[in-house]
Symmetry: C2
Subunit: 130 residues, 2 copies
DNA sequence: TCGATACCTGCATAGCTGTGAAGGTATACC
DNA sequence: GGTATACCTTCACAGCTATGCAGGTATCGA
């Protein structure tokens, strides 16, 4: 897979400025499928409503739709719609108990990202250069 | 800010199932602005093209548009458009050197998230439950 | 000055996304 | 059974997004 056939494995419009570097980076670059999966996960966190819902679940552990709606200050419909997206993506999981449906975070990567983000929000959201 | 006026600070449609829990979580929940900023950042990483571009820059350190296009296998226009979005959001920064414009990652949070993601991709993308 | 190169910028557009309204389903209680 | 609660789903739609095309700007070499 992916032999080092210099600059021929990439469909370049121009002759590359630094062919060696281009080839080197091409070798170690994640493939399109991995990038797509990763992007899909980030896109899931790319909505304020979903972010607040997830943080709510992160804090509470498990909560029914009704209570999540109360916490984030949104309608049940809105929360339910968001939950469907999160559930379909595998980020959360639900459990029925009587009339209520309880949701909790299921994906460990999502949990990790949320935790990390909260830490960064906690000790000053400094936007210092890398 | 945010006094504990139980269940009155949230506009609940129904009476909450667990009012105490709702109030407790409401107190510690990030506010809408923070959630919006966070979501905006995640949304920036929610596109495969941008993800691959950023990983390319993460690996190479600095690269001109031409070479990035060659690495990710996209047109210069596509890369340029993506760069504009990343630049506007503050994720990358550019530097002109003659005819070429070199880009590099500027945002430390973005860099951290990418690094973390790559690690998770590295040792098996296990989707085990949290 | 005259291309050529490297990159950028509208413009148009197909496709996606978040949101609300209306109505449906499942469970509990009388 | 009948009604209320809690949640879900379908439908519609305004707004956004990624992408390609055509043309523009900046720099270099002759």
């Amino acid at each position: 897979m992916q032999v080092s056939k210099v600059t021929s494995l990439v469909s370049c419009a121009h002759p590359a400025v630094d062919a060696a570097k281009v080839d080197a980076v091409s070798e170690s670059l994640i493939n399109v499928d991995e990038a797509t999966d990763l992007a899909e996960m980030f896109r899931l966190l790319g909505d304020p409503t979903r972010v607040r819902i997830l943080f709510t679940l992160l804090e509470a552990g498990e909560l029914c739709v009704c209570d999540v709606a109360a916490v984030v200050g949104a309608t049940e419909t809105k929360v339910s719609q968001a939950m469907r997206i999160l559930r379909t993506a595998g980020a959360v999981r639900n459990r029925r108990d009587g009339r209520n449906v309880y949701y909790r975070i299921h994906d460990s990567h999502v949990r990790l990202l949320l935790d990390l983000s909260r830490q960064h929000l906690a000790h000053g959201a400094d936007e210092g250069p890398a």
